[in-house]
Point group: C2
Chain length 313, copies 2
Protein backbone atom coordinates (compact mmCIF):
# COMPACT_ATOMS: atom_id res chain seq x y z
CA UNK A 1 0.00 0.00 0.00
CA UNK A 2 1.46 3.33 -1.06
CA UNK A 3 0.42 6.87 -0.36
CA UNK A 4 -0.50 9.02 -3.35
CA UNK A 5 1.53 11.86 -1.85
CA UNK A 6 2.86 13.04 1.48
CA UNK A 7 3.35 16.43 3.13
CA UNK A 8 5.68 15.42 5.94
CA UNK A 9 8.20 12.67 6.58
CA UNK A 10 7.84 10.72 9.80
CA UNK A 11 11.17 9.06 10.55
CA UNK A 12 10.71 6.20 13.00
CA UNK A 13 13.58 5.98 15.47
CA UNK A 14 12.17 3.33 17.80
CA UNK A 15 14.30 0.38 16.67
CA UNK A 16 17.42 2.43 17.43
CA UNK A 17 16.70 5.26 19.88
CA UNK A 18 13.90 3.36 21.58
CA UNK A 19 15.46 -0.06 21.91
CA UNK A 20 18.88 1.21 22.98
CA UNK A 21 17.34 3.17 25.85
CA UNK A 22 15.67 0.26 27.58
CA UNK A 23 17.01 -2.63 29.57
CA UNK A 24 15.32 -5.39 27.56
CA UNK A 25 17.00 -6.74 24.44
CA UNK A 26 14.64 -7.40 21.55
CA UNK A 27 15.54 -10.61 19.68
CA UNK A 28 16.77 -10.00 16.12
CA UNK A 29 13.92 -11.92 14.50
CA UNK A 30 11.39 -9.86 16.45
CA UNK A 31 13.08 -6.65 15.34
CA UNK A 32 12.55 -7.77 11.76
CA UNK A 33 8.87 -8.49 12.36
CA UNK A 34 8.42 -5.08 13.97
CA UNK A 35 10.31 -3.21 11.23
CA UNK A 36 8.24 -4.99 8.59
CA UNK A 37 5.01 -4.04 10.36
CA UNK A 38 6.14 -0.40 10.49
CA UNK A 39 6.95 -0.56 6.80
CA UNK A 40 3.59 -2.10 5.97
CA UNK A 41 1.89 0.78 7.80
CA UNK A 42 3.59 3.15 5.36
CA UNK A 43 6.64 4.22 7.34
CA UNK A 44 9.34 5.00 4.75
CA UNK A 45 12.30 5.98 6.89
CA UNK A 46 13.43 3.97 9.89
CA UNK A 47 16.51 4.34 12.07
CA UNK A 48 17.06 0.65 12.56
CA UNK A 49 20.31 0.33 14.46
CA UNK A 50 23.33 1.89 16.07
CA UNK A 51 26.84 0.84 15.06
CA UNK A 52 28.58 0.95 18.40
CA UNK A 53 30.61 -1.67 20.26
CA UNK A 54 28.31 -4.49 21.40
CA UNK A 55 29.86 -4.42 24.85
CA UNK A 56 28.57 -0.85 25.25
CA UNK A 57 25.13 -1.48 23.77
CA UNK A 58 24.27 -5.17 23.61
CA UNK A 59 20.79 -4.19 22.33
CA UNK A 60 22.48 -3.18 19.08
CA UNK A 61 24.83 -6.16 18.63
CA UNK A 62 22.82 -7.31 15.60
CA UNK A 63 23.01 -3.94 13.81
CA UNK A 64 24.44 -5.29 10.56
CA UNK A 65 21.89 -8.06 10.28
CA UNK A 66 19.01 -5.69 10.99
CA UNK A 67 20.23 -3.20 8.36
CA UNK A 68 20.56 -6.00 5.80
CA UNK A 69 17.02 -7.16 6.51
CA UNK A 70 15.57 -3.64 6.34
CA UNK A 71 17.25 -3.17 2.96
CA UNK A 72 14.97 -5.90 1.55
CA UNK A 73 11.94 -3.60 1.96
CA UNK A 74 11.51 -1.60 -1.28
CA UNK A 75 11.53 2.17 -0.99
CA UNK A 76 12.53 2.21 2.67
CA UNK A 77 15.30 4.60 3.70
CA UNK A 78 17.37 2.59 6.16
CA UNK A 79 19.12 4.75 8.70
CA UNK A 80 21.81 3.89 11.20
CA UNK A 81 23.40 5.87 13.97
CA UNK A 82 27.20 6.01 13.81
CA UNK A 83 29.28 7.80 16.44
CA UNK A 84 32.56 7.53 14.52
CA UNK A 85 34.30 6.48 11.30
CA UNK A 86 34.51 2.85 12.34
CA UNK A 87 30.77 2.71 12.87
CA UNK A 88 30.16 4.48 9.56
CA UNK A 89 32.30 1.95 7.72
CA UNK A 90 30.36 -0.93 9.26
CA UNK A 91 26.99 0.71 8.54
CA UNK A 92 27.91 1.39 4.90
CA UNK A 93 29.19 -2.14 4.52
CA UNK A 94 25.87 -3.46 5.86
CA UNK A 95 24.04 -1.34 3.29
CA UNK A 96 22.61 1.63 5.23
CA UNK A 97 21.12 4.39 3.07
CA UNK A 98 21.64 7.17 5.54
CA UNK A 99 23.93 7.71 8.50
CA UNK A 100 23.12 9.86 11.48
CA UNK A 101 25.97 11.20 13.59
CA UNK A 102 25.24 12.38 17.13
CA UNK A 103 26.83 15.74 17.82
CA UNK A 104 25.99 17.93 20.80
CA UNK A 105 25.64 21.67 21.16
CA UNK A 106 26.38 21.23 24.85
CA UNK A 107 30.08 20.72 25.57
CA UNK A 108 29.23 18.78 28.71
CA UNK A 109 26.81 16.47 26.90
CA UNK A 110 29.29 15.85 24.09
CA UNK A 111 31.84 14.52 26.55
CA UNK A 112 29.27 12.45 28.42
CA UNK A 113 27.63 11.01 25.30
CA UNK A 114 30.50 10.28 22.93
CA UNK A 115 33.56 11.06 25.07
CA UNK A 116 34.71 13.65 22.57
CA UNK A 117 34.69 17.44 22.54
CA UNK A 118 32.43 19.18 20.06
CA UNK A 119 35.48 20.08 17.97
CA UNK A 120 36.59 16.45 17.93
CA UNK A 121 33.11 15.42 16.76
CA UNK A 122 33.30 17.92 13.90
CA UNK A 123 36.55 16.22 12.89
CA UNK A 124 34.77 12.87 13.06
CA UNK A 125 32.05 14.19 10.73
CA UNK A 126 34.79 15.25 8.28
CA UNK A 127 36.33 11.78 8.36
CA UNK A 128 32.98 10.12 7.79
CA UNK A 129 31.95 12.38 4.90
CA UNK A 130 35.40 11.97 3.29
CA UNK A 131 35.03 8.20 3.51
CA UNK A 132 31.48 8.40 2.18
CA UNK A 133 32.62 10.52 -0.78
CA UNK A 134 35.16 7.93 -1.80
CA UNK A 135 33.40 4.70 -0.95
CA UNK A 136 29.65 5.28 -1.05
CA UNK A 137 28.63 8.64 -2.53
CA UNK A 138 24.97 7.58 -2.63
CA UNK A 139 24.80 7.37 1.18
CA UNK A 140 23.35 10.40 2.94
CA UNK A 141 24.86 11.81 6.12
CA UNK A 142 22.87 13.65 8.77
CA UNK A 143 24.28 15.23 11.92
CA UNK A 144 21.50 16.20 14.29
CA UNK A 145 22.38 18.67 17.03
CA UNK A 146 21.67 17.04 20.40
CA UNK A 147 20.81 19.15 23.47
CA UNK A 148 19.83 21.97 21.11
CA UNK A 149 17.23 23.23 23.58
CA UNK A 150 19.04 22.74 26.87
CA UNK A 151 21.12 20.18 28.69
CA UNK A 152 20.56 18.29 31.92
CA UNK A 153 24.28 18.66 32.67
CA UNK A 154 25.07 22.28 31.84
CA UNK A 155 21.53 23.70 31.80
CA UNK A 156 21.25 26.53 29.30
CA UNK A 157 22.77 25.93 25.87
CA UNK A 158 23.49 29.16 24.00
CA UNK A 159 21.50 29.40 20.78
CA UNK A 160 24.62 30.71 19.06
CA UNK A 161 26.37 27.45 19.98
CA UNK A 162 23.57 25.41 18.41
CA UNK A 163 23.68 27.33 15.14
CA UNK A 164 27.48 27.34 15.13
CA UNK A 165 27.50 23.55 15.54
CA UNK A 166 25.00 23.11 12.69
CA UNK A 167 27.10 25.32 10.41
CA UNK A 168 30.22 23.35 11.34
CA UNK A 169 28.77 19.93 10.56
CA UNK A 170 27.42 21.16 7.20
CA UNK A 171 30.82 22.71 6.44
CA UNK A 172 32.29 19.32 7.40
CA UNK A 173 30.29 17.71 4.62
CA UNK A 174 27.06 16.51 6.25
CA UNK A 175 23.99 16.77 4.02
CA UNK A 176 21.55 17.69 6.75
CA UNK A 177 21.52 18.98 10.28
CA UNK A 178 18.39 18.94 12.39
CA UNK A 179 17.75 19.88 16.00
CA UNK A 180 17.20 17.43 18.83
CA UNK A 181 15.50 18.13 22.12
CA UNK A 182 17.42 15.33 23.80
CA UNK A 183 16.36 16.39 27.27
CA UNK A 184 12.71 17.32 26.68
CA UNK A 185 13.47 20.94 27.60
CA UNK A 186 12.06 22.68 24.52
CA UNK A 187 9.03 24.94 24.33
CA UNK A 188 7.17 26.02 21.20
CA UNK A 189 8.53 29.59 21.17
CA UNK A 190 12.10 28.30 21.41
CA UNK A 191 11.41 25.71 18.70
CA UNK A 192 10.22 28.40 16.28
CA UNK A 193 13.11 30.71 17.09
CA UNK A 194 15.82 28.08 16.66
CA UNK A 195 14.44 26.40 13.53
CA UNK A 196 14.10 29.83 11.95
CA UNK A 197 17.73 30.56 12.74
CA UNK A 198 18.76 27.11 11.51
CA UNK A 199 17.07 27.70 8.16
CA UNK A 200 18.68 31.13 7.89
CA UNK A 201 22.09 29.63 8.66
CA UNK A 202 22.14 26.45 6.57
CA UNK A 203 19.18 26.82 4.22
CA UNK A 204 18.11 23.61 2.52
CA UNK A 205 20.49 21.59 4.70
CA UNK A 206 18.13 22.16 7.65
CA UNK A 207 16.91 18.73 8.74
CA UNK A 208 14.51 16.97 11.05
CA UNK A 209 12.96 17.95 14.35
CA UNK A 210 13.79 15.25 16.88
CA UNK A 211 11.61 16.09 19.86
CA UNK A 212 10.86 14.45 23.16
CA UNK A 213 7.73 14.35 25.27
CA UNK A 214 9.34 14.34 28.70
CA UNK A 215 7.31 17.35 29.84
CA UNK A 216 4.22 16.69 27.73
CA UNK A 217 5.07 19.33 25.13
CA UNK A 218 6.18 16.92 22.40
CA UNK A 219 3.22 17.41 20.06
CA UNK A 220 2.96 21.14 20.73
CA UNK A 221 6.65 21.41 19.83
CA UNK A 222 6.14 19.38 16.64
CA UNK A 223 3.26 21.67 15.72
CA UNK A 224 5.47 24.71 16.28
CA UNK A 225 8.23 23.18 14.14
CA UNK A 226 5.74 22.38 11.38
CA UNK A 227 4.45 25.94 11.46
CA UNK A 228 8.04 27.11 11.07
CA UNK A 229 8.40 25.04 7.91
CA UNK A 230 9.92 21.80 9.22
CA UNK A 231 8.63 18.79 7.27
CA UNK A 232 10.72 15.96 8.72
CA UNK A 233 10.05 14.59 12.20
CA UNK A 234 11.70 11.87 14.24
CA UNK A 235 9.43 9.94 16.56
CA UNK A 236 9.28 6.59 18.29
CA UNK A 237 6.51 4.02 18.37
CA UNK A 238 5.03 3.78 21.84
CA UNK A 239 7.20 6.71 22.92
CA UNK A 240 10.01 4.28 23.57
CA UNK A 241 13.34 5.83 24.43
CA UNK A 242 14.60 8.99 26.01
CA UNK A 243 14.08 9.63 29.68
CA UNK A 244 10.91 7.92 30.82
CA UNK A 245 9.09 9.00 33.96
CA UNK A 246 6.17 6.74 34.78
CA UNK A 247 3.22 6.96 34.41
CA UNK A 248 2.43 8.65 31.17
CA UNK A 249 5.73 10.30 30.58
CA UNK A 250 7.54 9.05 27.56
CA UNK A 251 10.84 9.83 25.97
CA UNK A 252 10.53 10.42 22.25
CA UNK A 253 7.39 11.85 20.75
CA UNK A 254 4.96 8.97 20.22
CA UNK A 255 4.74 8.17 16.49
CA UNK A 256 1.10 7.07 16.71
CA UNK A 257 -0.03 10.33 18.35
CA UNK A 258 2.09 12.45 16.00
CA UNK A 259 0.70 10.73 12.89
CA UNK A 260 -2.83 11.18 14.26
CA UNK A 261 -2.25 14.89 14.89
CA UNK A 262 -0.98 15.52 11.38
CA UNK A 263 -3.60 13.35 9.64
CA UNK A 264 -6.40 15.00 11.64
CA UNK A 265 -5.06 18.40 10.58
CA UNK A 266 -5.17 17.38 6.92
CA UNK A 267 -1.40 16.94 6.67
CA UNK A 268 -0.48 13.74 4.82
CA UNK A 269 2.05 11.45 6.50
CA UNK A 270 1.69 8.46 4.17
CA UNK A 271 1.12 6.31 7.24
CA UNK A 272 -2.01 4.23 7.80
CA UNK A 273 -3.12 4.65 11.41
CA UNK A 274 -4.86 1.30 11.83
CA UNK A 275 -1.84 -0.55 10.48
CA UNK A 276 0.42 1.59 12.64
CA UNK A 277 -1.56 0.56 15.72
CA UNK A 278 -1.14 -3.06 14.58
CA UNK A 279 2.62 -2.57 14.57
CA UNK A 280 2.49 -2.01 18.34
CA UNK A 281 1.86 -5.71 18.78
CA UNK A 282 5.27 -6.95 17.60
CA UNK A 283 6.92 -4.13 19.54
CA UNK A 284 5.18 -5.14 22.74
CA UNK A 285 5.77 -8.84 22.06
CA UNK A 286 9.47 -8.13 21.56
CA UNK A 287 9.90 -6.23 24.81
CA UNK A 288 7.08 -7.59 26.98
CA UNK A 289 8.39 -6.01 30.17
CA UNK A 290 8.49 -2.47 28.84
CA UNK A 291 5.75 0.14 29.11
CA UNK A 292 4.46 1.26 25.72
CA UNK A 293 2.87 4.72 25.59
CA UNK A 294 0.49 6.40 23.18
CA UNK A 295 -2.80 8.16 23.85
CA UNK A 296 -4.55 7.71 20.50
CA UNK A 297 -4.05 3.92 20.42
CA UNK A 298 -5.76 3.80 23.84
CA UNK A 299 -8.56 6.29 23.23
CA UNK A 300 -9.11 5.33 19.58
CA UNK A 301 -9.62 7.80 16.76
CA UNK A 302 -12.63 10.13 16.92
CA UNK A 303 -15.95 8.88 15.61
CA UNK A 304 -16.15 9.75 11.93
CA UNK A 305 -12.40 10.38 11.69
CA UNK A 306 -10.89 10.53 8.21
CA UNK A 307 -7.18 10.45 7.43
CA UNK A 308 -5.62 13.00 5.11
CA UNK A 309 -3.45 10.47 3.27
CA UNK A 310 -4.96 8.93 0.16
CA UNK A 311 -3.87 5.49 -0.99
CA UNK A 312 -3.10 4.20 -4.46
CA UNK A 313 -4.68 0.88 -5.40
CA UNK B 1 1.97 36.94 46.29
CA UNK B 2 0.66 38.79 43.25
CA UNK B 3 1.81 38.83 39.67
CA UNK B 4 2.90 42.19 38.25
CA UNK B 5 0.93 41.43 35.11
CA UNK B 6 -0.45 38.48 33.17
CA UNK B 7 -0.86 37.65 29.49
CA UNK B 8 -3.32 34.75 29.79
CA UNK B 9 -5.94 33.64 32.28
CA UNK B 10 -5.75 30.05 33.48
CA UNK B 11 -9.16 29.07 34.83
CA UNK B 12 -8.87 26.04 37.11
CA UNK B 13 -11.85 23.70 36.68
CA UNK B 14 -10.60 20.79 38.77
CA UNK B 15 -12.78 21.35 41.85
CA UNK B 16 -15.85 21.17 39.60
CA UNK B 17 -15.12 19.38 36.33
CA UNK B 18 -12.46 17.19 37.88
CA UNK B 19 -14.14 16.19 41.10
CA UNK B 20 -17.53 15.57 39.53
CA UNK B 21 -16.03 13.13 37.02
CA UNK B 22 -14.53 10.75 39.53
CA UNK B 23 -16.03 8.23 41.88
CA UNK B 24 -14.38 9.50 45.05
CA UNK B 25 -15.99 12.31 47.01
CA UNK B 26 -13.57 14.88 48.37
CA UNK B 27 -14.51 16.05 51.88
CA UNK B 28 -15.60 19.69 52.04
CA UNK B 29 -12.79 20.72 54.37
CA UNK B 30 -10.25 19.17 51.99
CA UNK B 31 -11.79 21.04 49.04
CA UNK B 32 -11.19 24.26 50.95
CA UNK B 33 -7.56 23.37 51.61
CA UNK B 34 -7.04 22.53 47.94
CA UNK B 35 -8.75 25.69 46.67
CA UNK B 36 -6.68 27.79 49.05
CA UNK B 37 -3.48 26.13 47.83
CA UNK B 38 -4.47 26.87 44.22
CA UNK B 39 -5.18 30.46 45.17
CA UNK B 40 -1.85 30.79 46.94
CA UNK B 41 -0.11 29.59 43.79
CA UNK B 42 -1.64 32.55 41.96
CA UNK B 43 -4.72 30.98 40.39
CA UNK B 44 -7.29 33.78 40.14
CA UNK B 45 -10.29 32.03 38.60
CA UNK B 46 -11.57 28.69 39.88
CA UNK B 47 -14.70 26.77 38.94
CA UNK B 48 -15.38 25.52 42.42
CA UNK B 49 -18.71 23.72 42.23
CA UNK B 50 -21.73 22.62 40.25
CA UNK B 51 -25.24 23.52 41.41
CA UNK B 52 -27.09 20.36 40.52
CA UNK B 53 -29.27 18.04 42.61
CA UNK B 54 -27.12 16.23 45.18
CA UNK B 55 -28.78 12.94 44.31
CA UNK B 56 -27.38 13.28 40.76
CA UNK B 57 -23.92 14.44 41.80
CA UNK B 58 -23.18 13.76 45.46
CA UNK B 59 -19.62 15.07 44.88
CA UNK B 60 -21.18 18.54 44.58
CA UNK B 61 -23.61 18.42 47.50
CA UNK B 62 -21.52 21.03 49.35
CA UNK B 63 -21.56 23.52 46.45
CA UNK B 64 -22.93 26.46 48.45
CA UNK B 65 -20.48 26.01 51.31
CA UNK B 66 -17.53 25.73 48.90
CA UNK B 67 -18.57 28.89 47.03
CA UNK B 68 -18.91 30.76 50.32
CA UNK B 69 -15.44 29.68 51.37
CA UNK B 70 -13.88 30.57 48.02
CA UNK B 71 -15.41 34.04 48.27
CA UNK B 72 -13.19 34.72 51.30
CA UNK B 73 -10.10 34.70 49.05
CA UNK B 74 -9.50 38.29 47.85
CA UNK B 75 -9.40 38.82 44.10
CA UNK B 76 -10.50 35.31 43.21
CA UNK B 77 -13.23 34.93 40.58
CA UNK B 78 -15.43 32.18 41.95
CA UNK B 79 -17.19 30.26 39.21
CA UNK B 80 -19.99 27.73 39.43
CA UNK B 81 -21.61 25.53 36.85
CA UNK B 82 -25.39 25.87 36.64
CA UNK B 83 -27.49 23.78 34.26
CA UNK B 84 -30.71 25.74 34.83
CA UNK B 85 -32.38 28.72 36.53
CA UNK B 86 -32.77 26.93 39.84
CA UNK B 87 -29.04 26.21 39.95
CA UNK B 88 -28.28 29.79 38.97
CA UNK B 89 -30.42 31.13 41.81
CA UNK B 90 -28.64 28.92 44.32
CA UNK B 91 -25.20 29.83 42.97
CA UNK B 92 -25.96 33.56 43.10
CA UNK B 93 -27.34 33.23 46.59
CA UNK B 94 -24.14 31.50 47.67
CA UNK B 95 -22.14 34.38 46.22
CA UNK B 96 -20.68 33.09 42.95
CA UNK B 97 -19.02 35.74 40.77
CA UNK B 98 -19.51 33.96 37.50
CA UNK B 99 -21.88 31.28 36.25
CA UNK B 100 -21.09 28.83 33.52
CA UNK B 101 -23.97 27.18 31.67
CA UNK B 102 -23.29 23.96 29.75
CA UNK B 103 -24.79 24.08 26.27
CA UNK B 104 -23.97 21.61 23.50
CA UNK B 105 -23.49 22.09 19.78
CA UNK B 106 -24.37 18.41 19.36
CA UNK B 107 -28.11 17.76 19.61
CA UNK B 108 -27.43 14.23 20.84
CA UNK B 109 -25.04 15.40 23.54
CA UNK B 110 -27.44 18.11 24.70
CA UNK B 111 -30.14 15.52 25.40
CA UNK B 112 -27.68 13.13 27.07
CA UNK B 113 -26.00 15.79 29.20
CA UNK B 114 -28.81 18.07 30.36
CA UNK B 115 -31.93 16.26 29.06
CA UNK B 116 -32.89 19.31 27.04
CA UNK B 117 -32.72 20.18 23.35
CA UNK B 118 -30.33 22.87 22.25
CA UNK B 119 -33.27 25.24 21.77
CA UNK B 120 -34.52 24.52 25.28
CA UNK B 121 -31.06 25.29 26.65
CA UNK B 122 -31.04 28.63 24.84
CA UNK B 123 -34.34 29.40 26.62
CA UNK B 124 -32.68 28.42 29.91
CA UNK B 125 -29.85 30.87 29.19
CA UNK B 126 -32.45 33.59 28.64
CA UNK B 127 -34.12 32.82 31.96
CA UNK B 128 -30.80 32.87 33.79
CA UNK B 129 -29.62 36.15 32.25
CA UNK B 130 -33.01 37.78 32.93
CA UNK B 131 -32.78 36.71 36.57
CA UNK B 132 -29.18 37.89 36.76
CA UNK B 133 -30.15 41.30 35.31
CA UNK B 134 -32.75 41.83 38.02
CA UNK B 135 -31.13 40.22 41.02
CA UNK B 136 -27.38 40.30 40.58
CA UNK B 137 -26.18 42.44 37.66
CA UNK B 138 -22.57 42.16 38.82
CA UNK B 139 -22.53 38.39 38.18
CA UNK B 140 -21.02 37.28 34.86
CA UNK B 141 -22.58 34.54 32.75
CA UNK B 142 -20.62 32.29 30.42
CA UNK B 143 -22.08 29.62 28.16
CA UNK B 144 -19.33 27.42 26.74
CA UNK B 145 -20.20 25.33 23.70
CA UNK B 146 -19.66 21.66 24.57
CA UNK B 147 -18.83 19.08 21.87
CA UNK B 148 -17.69 21.96 19.65
CA UNK B 149 -15.11 19.73 17.94
CA UNK B 150 -17.04 16.49 17.63
CA UNK B 151 -19.26 14.23 19.68
CA UNK B 152 -18.89 10.64 20.82
CA UNK B 153 -22.61 10.14 20.20
CA UNK B 154 -23.23 11.77 16.85
CA UNK B 155 -19.65 11.97 15.55
CA UNK B 156 -19.20 15.03 13.35
CA UNK B 157 -20.63 18.31 14.67
CA UNK B 158 -21.18 20.87 11.90
CA UNK B 159 -19.07 23.98 12.43
CA UNK B 160 -22.08 26.06 11.44
CA UNK B 161 -23.98 24.53 14.38
CA UNK B 162 -21.20 25.50 16.79
CA UNK B 163 -21.15 29.11 15.63
CA UNK B 164 -24.95 29.29 15.52
CA UNK B 165 -25.12 28.06 19.12
CA UNK B 166 -22.54 30.62 20.27
CA UNK B 167 -24.48 33.41 18.56
CA UNK B 168 -27.70 32.22 20.17
CA UNK B 169 -26.34 32.17 23.73
CA UNK B 170 -24.84 35.66 23.31
CA UNK B 171 -28.16 36.89 21.89
CA UNK B 172 -29.78 35.25 24.93
CA UNK B 173 -27.74 37.54 27.16
CA UNK B 174 -24.62 35.54 28.07
CA UNK B 175 -21.48 37.64 28.42
CA UNK B 176 -19.09 35.09 26.97
CA UNK B 177 -19.13 31.92 24.91
CA UNK B 178 -16.07 29.74 24.58
CA UNK B 179 -15.50 26.42 22.88
CA UNK B 180 -15.14 23.08 24.66
CA UNK B 181 -13.52 19.96 23.28
CA UNK B 182 -15.58 17.78 25.60
CA UNK B 183 -14.59 14.58 23.83
CA UNK B 184 -10.92 15.22 23.15
CA UNK B 185 -11.54 15.15 19.39
CA UNK B 186 -10.00 18.48 18.42
CA UNK B 187 -6.88 19.04 16.36
CA UNK B 188 -4.87 22.27 16.04
CA UNK B 189 -6.10 23.13 12.54
CA UNK B 190 -9.73 22.76 13.63
CA UNK B 191 -9.05 24.81 16.77
CA UNK B 192 -7.69 27.70 14.72
CA UNK B 193 -10.52 27.53 12.20
CA UNK B 194 -13.29 27.49 14.81
CA UNK B 195 -11.89 30.11 17.16
CA UNK B 196 -11.36 32.38 14.17
CA UNK B 197 -15.02 31.93 13.19
CA UNK B 198 -16.11 32.40 16.80
CA UNK B 199 -14.28 35.73 17.01
CA UNK B 200 -15.78 36.83 13.70
CA UNK B 201 -19.27 35.87 14.89
CA UNK B 202 -19.36 37.20 18.45
CA UNK B 203 -16.33 39.49 18.69
CA UNK B 204 -15.30 40.38 22.22
CA UNK B 205 -17.82 37.91 23.64
CA UNK B 206 -15.55 35.06 22.49
CA UNK B 207 -14.51 33.18 25.62
CA UNK B 208 -12.24 30.45 26.89
CA UNK B 209 -10.76 27.40 25.27
CA UNK B 210 -11.76 24.36 27.32
CA UNK B 211 -9.62 21.57 25.90
CA UNK B 212 -9.05 17.96 26.79
CA UNK B 213 -5.98 15.78 26.51
CA UNK B 214 -7.69 12.49 25.71
CA UNK B 215 -5.60 11.96 22.58
CA UNK B 216 -2.47 13.73 23.78
CA UNK B 217 -3.14 16.88 21.75
CA UNK B 218 -4.25 19.06 24.66
CA UNK B 219 -1.22 21.33 24.80
CA UNK B 220 -0.84 21.49 21.02
CA UNK B 221 -4.48 22.58 20.85
CA UNK B 222 -3.95 25.21 23.55
CA UNK B 223 -0.96 26.50 21.60
CA UNK B 224 -3.09 26.71 18.45
CA UNK B 225 -5.83 28.56 20.33
CA UNK B 226 -3.29 30.97 21.79
CA UNK B 227 -1.86 31.63 18.36
CA UNK B 228 -5.41 32.41 17.19
CA UNK B 229 -5.73 35.06 19.90
CA UNK B 230 -7.40 33.12 22.73
CA UNK B 231 -6.16 34.32 26.12
CA UNK B 232 -8.40 32.37 28.50
CA UNK B 233 -7.90 28.65 29.11
CA UNK B 234 -9.71 26.12 31.25
CA UNK B 235 -7.58 23.34 32.69
CA UNK B 236 -7.60 20.93 35.56
CA UNK B 237 -4.94 20.18 38.14
CA UNK B 238 -3.59 16.68 37.66
CA UNK B 239 -5.68 16.34 34.49
CA UNK B 240 -8.59 15.29 36.65
CA UNK B 241 -11.88 14.94 34.85
CA UNK B 242 -13.08 14.16 31.40
CA UNK B 243 -12.70 10.68 29.96
CA UNK B 244 -9.63 9.05 31.44
CA UNK B 245 -7.89 6.15 29.72
CA UNK B 246 -5.11 4.73 31.84
CA UNK B 247 -2.17 4.97 31.81
CA UNK B 248 -1.13 8.46 30.95
CA UNK B 249 -4.36 9.56 29.35
CA UNK B 250 -6.10 12.34 31.17
CA UNK B 251 -9.30 14.21 30.66
CA UNK B 252 -8.84 17.94 30.94
CA UNK B 253 -5.61 19.59 29.96
CA UNK B 254 -3.26 19.40 32.95
CA UNK B 255 -2.95 22.85 34.57
CA UNK B 256 0.62 22.24 35.68
CA UNK B 257 1.82 21.32 32.18
CA UNK B 258 -0.13 24.18 30.58
CA UNK B 259 1.28 26.76 32.98
CA UNK B 260 4.76 25.38 32.34
CA UNK B 261 4.31 25.63 28.57
CA UNK B 262 3.18 29.22 28.70
CA UNK B 263 5.74 30.34 31.27
CA UNK B 264 8.55 28.64 29.30
CA UNK B 265 7.38 30.49 26.18
CA UNK B 266 7.56 33.81 27.99
CA UNK B 267 3.78 34.10 28.37
CA UNK B 268 2.82 35.25 31.85
CA UNK B 269 0.15 33.20 33.64
CA UNK B 270 0.47 34.79 37.08
CA UNK B 271 0.87 31.31 38.52
CA UNK B 272 3.90 30.19 40.51
CA UNK B 273 4.94 26.72 39.34
CA UNK B 274 6.54 25.51 42.57
CA UNK B 275 3.50 26.53 44.59
CA UNK B 276 1.24 24.99 41.95
CA UNK B 277 3.08 21.68 42.34
CA UNK B 278 2.57 22.02 46.11
CA UNK B 279 -1.19 22.28 45.52
CA UNK B 280 -1.16 18.73 44.15
CA UNK B 281 -0.66 17.46 47.68
CA UNK B 282 -4.07 18.49 49.06
CA UNK B 283 -5.68 17.26 45.83
CA UNK B 284 -4.07 13.85 46.15
CA UNK B 285 -4.77 13.74 49.89
CA UNK B 286 -8.43 14.51 49.22
CA UNK B 287 -8.89 11.78 46.62
CA UNK B 288 -6.20 9.26 47.56
CA UNK B 289 -7.57 6.55 45.28
CA UNK B 290 -7.50 8.63 42.11
CA UNK B 291 -4.66 8.83 39.59
CA UNK B 292 -3.24 12.33 39.28
CA UNK B 293 -1.52 13.15 35.97
CA UNK B 294 1.00 15.76 34.95
CA UNK B 295 4.34 15.38 33.18
CA UNK B 296 6.17 18.48 34.41
CA UNK B 297 5.54 17.74 38.10
CA UNK B 298 7.13 14.33 37.52
CA UNK B 299 10.02 15.37 35.31
CA UNK B 300 10.66 18.68 37.05
CA UNK B 301 11.34 21.96 35.29
CA UNK B 302 14.44 22.21 33.07
CA UNK B 303 17.74 23.09 34.69
CA UNK B 304 18.08 26.87 34.67
CA UNK B 305 14.36 27.37 33.97
CA UNK B 306 12.97 30.85 34.53
CA UNK B 307 9.29 31.74 34.69
CA UNK B 308 7.90 34.61 32.66
CA UNK B 309 5.70 35.93 35.47
CA UNK B 310 7.25 38.56 37.71
CA UNK B 311 6.05 39.00 41.30
CA UNK B 312 5.34 42.10 43.29
CA UNK B 313 6.83 42.26 46.77
Amino acid sequence: MNAVSTDVLISEVGPRDGLQSIRSIMPTEQKKVWIKALYQAGVREIEVASFVPAKLLPQMADAAEVVKYAKTLPGLTVMALVPNLKGAQAAIEAGADKLTIPVSASAAHSMANVRKTREEMIEEVKKITAYRKEQAPQVKVEAGIATAFGCTLQGLVAEDDVIWMAEQVIAAGADESGLSDTTGYANPAQIKRLFKRLKAAIGSHAGAAHLHNTRGLGLANCLAAYEEGVTSFDSSMGGLGGCPYAPGASGNVVTEDLVFMFEAMGIKTGIHLDLLFEARKPLQAGVPNEQIYGMVPQAGVPKGFESATQWSA
